[in-house]
């Protein structure tokens, strides 16, 4: 069964460093998403991406964040200068169609620890 994969499973970085989290969505999906979950808090939407551009983003997704689909398979989230408060589990998801109804398939997550 096709699934969303994410690498690495755990990333440790120093404050101020750049990190890139990688995701491989399901191959025939057209919409891609990033969510994050700070320990003990709810899963929060960051950004959605379609047709090589951001279609929606939350207030969390500020100038420190960017997303890219560098090739036909990968979908990346970059944090330019990490802060302590960026420590969280980051989930990638994909769907065939836009949400509001379509199932989003989630990856297992990348745990980011900022020291």
């Amino acid at each position: 069964e096709p699934e969303v994969t994410q690498t690495p499973s755990h990333q440790v970085t120093q404050m101020g460093q750049e990190v890139i989290l990688r995701c491989v969505p399901i191959s025939n999906h057209l919409y891609f998403y990033w969510y994050r979950q700070i320990l003990g808090q709810k899963v929060e939407f960051l950004v959605s991406f379609y047709n090589n551009e951001i279609s929606e983003k939350s207030e969390i997704f500020d100038d420190q964040f960017s997303v890219e689909r560098p090739d036909g398979s990968n979908f990346t989230l970059k944090i330019r200068s990490t802060k302590l408060e960026d420590s969280a589990m980051y989930f990638c998801a994909s769907s065939v169609r836009a949400s509001g109804g379509d199932e989003q398939f989630f990856g297992p997550g990348t745990r980011l620890t900022v020291l």
Binding site: E3, F45, Q104, F105, G107, P108
Partner: protein
């Protein structure tokens, strides 16, 4: 704006007992409602979803949920819990046409043999 409340942080049930996980949502129009489950080290897996129509929705793994507009609730139920159901359960809501899901804080289910 949409929001979701899951009032129970942690629930413990005995194997074979029935289960109900609570979810209350806030949204002005008819919402799209979802229940996801997350096992340790796994991603979020969709259990079931509600868009319209029959308010009792059947999902995978023997789960069902009932949409009650008057109570703004979408509680998840299972008549007989199995040890493998131990996981974190998330309720989520989406607005029609929107791309993003709003999640609750989750309920951790522990199953006692």
């Amino acid at each position: 704006a949409q929001s979701v409340t899951q009032p129970d942080i942690h629930i413990t049930v005995s194997e074979g007992a029935s289960l109900e996980l609570r979810c209350n949502y806030s949204y002005g129009a008819t919402p799209y409602l979802f229940w996801y489950v997350q096992s340790p080290g796994q991603g979020l897996q969709l259990l079931l979803k509600y868009f319209s129509g029959d308010t009792l929705v059947q999902g995978i793994k023997g789960f069902e949920a009932e949409f009650k507009r008057s109570q703004s609730s979408f509680n998840l139920r299972k008549p007989s819990v199995h040890w493998s159901d131990a996981a974190e359960y998330f309720c989520a809501v989406a607005a029609e046409g929107a791309n993003n899901l709003f999640f609750g804080t989750g309920t951790r289910l522990t199953v006692i043999p």
